[in-house]
Symmetry: C3
Subunit: 138 residues, 3 copies
């Protein structure tokens, strides 16, 4: 059982789509896999209680891997797609491209504070596709 | 087939639980998935020969993402849960939340030096739950 | 259905093996899992259009985690296997050890620009084994 989730992002930061995934799952036990079909955005499971956590994670990524116009990154060569492109690839190297979540009786076995996020690394809004796969326990 | 492993951690660092996982697996081929149900601790497959590797990995994480009282992180806003909380979320963003290991005839196909670890990012000891799923090859 | 891909690496950097994986898959839908059986090399899904991206990713890793002879890493203790060994473990902590890719009718659901890479972290050429698992949808 497979589908595609399409997520609109407003630019850098986390967009939660836990409910979309939960609504798609059948009332069965099995294994859920999500994989993002892009190389400058990521998937992430993180805290969904205090929204400040999402802001801090985004800011840490921005300061650790700044735009390629920053003098600390002057050695980068892939810059013709804009100063946010190569840093986006670097961030996408460090964060998950796929997530696996065991499912029991139709419910993801996430912890109390865990939500599923798409992390946009580019400056402009984007439309991002996430391939989803669910295998029912045999 | 699913279960939960509960791991007691003594504070920051790696706790190996390869044997617990190996003992749970049936004598079958398939795919093992582990997912940690927390957002300030991680899973990791790493070298289990020289324990100094685990110490060095923990120290590198601590120096790269120090406590939020460090002046380099003064921009962080989610600090009310303590100076080790937001750095814990950042480290959990960078390390695996889930692991997948092919299994052949009941044995994980790990390399000679690979062990399965829980990585604690918080300062105090914690009890951490890891959701486990095994799908037998059909 | 399982196999092992063996990849020869020329030293630090990305080696693509998307075609080897594609050729191995049956004409079925299901879930592909790849897991590297080493702790100083990684797997990665990244852009396969402009090769400069691969060079920049490798250079960023090298500057962010330099050889352990660099004064910034003088606290490391696991150094007897050479100045590229402990940095290799650190990089392997940050990049994926396993990848999961949904497959539809024998084709991986990768995005247009996504390729599958092995990332070598050691200085010398190595032979690296990647465990592969494919589960057909039931």
């Amino acid at each position: 059982m497979q589908t595609t989730f399409t997520i609109e992002t407003p630019g850098p930061g986390l967009t939660e789509f836990t409910r979309d995934v939960a609504a798609w799952l059948p009332a069965a036990s099995g294994l859920l896999t999500l994989m993002i079909r892009h190389t400058s955005a990521s998937l992430l499971i993180q805290e969904n209680a205090d929204p400040d956590v999402q802001i801090d994670l985004t800011e840490w990524l921005h300061r650790t891997v700044p735009p390629s116009t920053d003098s600390s990154l002057s050695y980068l060569t892939h810059t013709f797609e804009g100063p946010d492109d190569m840093p986006g690839h670097i961030k996408a190297m460090l964060l998950p491209v796929s997530l696996q979540i065991p499912v029991a009786d139709g419910r993801m076995r996430l912890g109390t504070w865990q939500g599923i996020y798409l992390v946009e690394h580019r400056t402009r809004p984007h439309r991002r596709d996430v391939a989803a796969h669910f295998a029912t326990d045999g």
